[in-house]
Symmetry: C2
Subunit: 354 residues, 2 copies
């Protein structure tokens, strides 16, 4: 058995779009979702790549997604908007919210759109990067199903509530931070389970009684560790407030659980666009970003490292490589995608074993 | 010898104002600085309390602070402003920037003010809280003298660049996060040195070659650990971009060092005010904050803890206690403040030994 297949981005895009449309998603939404998922795979953020289709299909079939809605504008001022996602396709709602934020920032300097009754929006970086393409600093936040206990607590209340910011560069691609507010994302624990690793690095997880643990088994029954303890919990709350409290949406503990399959997820998001030209001329801003990044990269490397990197740099390198050599998809994920394709009579591309 | 003295907030305020005016700071600036420092002591954030006067006095005497300026507005749109602090009194410049952000957000929904050529602004929470008092969500960021190496690096490039957000509450006081983007602030390492502790908890520091260390001596020669490694480095860069890149100010590595005493510090800040009423009616927002906080506090405590707290809660409790029982000041700090007072013929209050 091979480790998986390697496939060109364009083929993976067409296949993904085909799976989603076959399950009832309109062409325009399916095209956008496929584009966002493949963008994640290109960046080697495989947790937010095409494997998510396996989670989206059951919700689509169950009718938990209102595939027709664009979302409804609840309120709008010159800089702010509340958008009701009406349980639409998360990526489609995020795109609309993002584009509203860009429009508001273009007109007013700043644009902040909060979204309620949305769904899973994939990789936050895709949306922040959309704002960067318009010459703006983009910030994107989302809540989701609880996985994390508040610090000093032993019951799930918050998700890994990510913080994402993308910043237009000068001669370099965008500086791009997209991080869960836990030490690691859930995917890393699941990977350790699949590999049969009995211990985890310290600082990753808590057991079911909220005590730090390095046991993979105990972590599965327990919780992800907020980044640095109480600070990560504080950052997750910051995200929760900007998303659900400020949109009138369902707060973390009240969102749906995709594993239960009982109804719409009802996630909330917040998108903030900043028109850099209002502060500093755009070209000067780019030059300043270059200088700042040069200052970081000029630091002597720590023992055991060759160079200092900046946020987004590993992902840009991965993208360059994967555009050239294709995207590797794990055998387990690929088999499930092909099984879905066979069930819906969608042709699967072959790819190349690796 | 006593551990120090305990003194009422009002007495400490008058004493602090007296020290600053005696060293040449105008009454209005001195009053504001004293108020901000005592507010930090009340919240038990003693690192940002009256001990900072010992750092401000030399800069005042050396003429590194332009005590007369209000700062100069470089550019202003309906939502954005760049303010040049003209090396003024940091707190005074921060107050002006904050009030501009509040005014812009009141008029437009959002207000973002970036500041260059500012100075030390004390506790960021004081400024975010100022925005909360006007019913707005307040965010405050500042850069400062480099203490931290970029992740995978072994040379100082960034400061502990804090993230601060304060949010109006319903029946509770503001939710208030004010955190360095390192695992701990420098003060905790210094405290361990003063106490003669040879080892530090893991995750606090790196040695001079950028390797994780638990040796207090090695940490003194090395660096503070960014929160969770590369994530804390990313958050510090986020703050640096919002402050210095977006204001046209001096980037982290180019700021002054107070220990060198060679000139103005030239720090940069960013203040963002969000008018919650544009998103959700203010009373409903407060109720929603109460519900969210109740949800956190309802989680079963982890083993070894009695309750779940939210950001700002320990500090509000400290403030209640210290308003009643007085503020404890360490003997070492107090002796130095009294020596300064004697040198300038300022009367020092007695306080009560503890």
């Amino acid at each position: 058995m091979s480790n998986g297949i390697r496939i060109q981005a364009s083929e993976l895009l067409a296949f993904s779009r085909g799976l989603l449309t076959a399950a009832g998603m309109p062409e325009d939404r399916a095209g956008l979702v496929a584009q966002a998922l493949v963008a994640a795979n290109l960046r080697a953020v495989d947790s937010h790549g095409v494997q998510l289709i396996l989670h989206y299909l059951p919700d689509l079939r169950a009718g938990f997604m209102n595939v027709a809605t664009d979302g409804r504008i609840v309120s709008e001022t010159g800089t702010t908007m509340v958008l009701d996602g009406e349980d639409g396709v998360g990526h489609w709602i995020a795109r609309n919210a993002c584009d509203h934020a860009i429009r508001l920032a273009t007109g007013s300097g700043l644009g902040m759109v909060t979204v309620r009754n949305s769904s899973h929006i994939g990789m936050a970086a895709f949306w922040a990067q959309r704002m960067v393409e318009r010459g703006q600093i983009g910030l994107a936040f989302t809540n989701a199903t609880p996985l994390v206990a508040p610090w000093q607590g032993a019951e799930k209340r918050l998700s890994t509530n990510p913080i994402c910011m993308a910043v237009p560069g000068g001669r370099r691609p965008a500086w791009l931070l997209d991080m869960a507010t836990t030490t690691v994302a859930m995917g890393k624990i699941i990977k350790a389970v699949h590999k049969g690793e009995e211990t985890l690095p310290s600082g990753w997880a808590l057991d079911s009684r909220g005590r730090p643990t390095t046991s993979t088994a105990a972590a599965q029954q327990g919780f992800l560790m907020p980044l640095g303890g109480y600070k990560g919990y504080g950052l997750a709350m910051m995200v929760e407030i900007l998303c659900s409290v400020l949109s009138g949406g369902r707060m973390g503990p009240l969102t749906g659980d995709p594993r239960e399959g009982k109804g719409p997820l009802g996630y909330s998001q917040c998108f903030l666009a900043i028109d850099v030209g209002r502060f500093v001329p755009v070209e000067e801003f780019g030059r300043r970003m270059d200088v700042l990044i040069d200052m970081m990269k000029s630091a002597a490397p720590a023992e055991g490292y060759d160079e200092v990197l900046v946020a987004g740099e590993p992902e840009w390198r991965a993208e360059e490589l994967r555009r050239r050599e294709g995207i590797p998809i794990d055998a387990g994920v690929w088999e499930k995608l092909v099984a879905e394709a066979n069930g819906m009579k969608v042709a699967a591309p072959c790819g190349v074993d690796f």
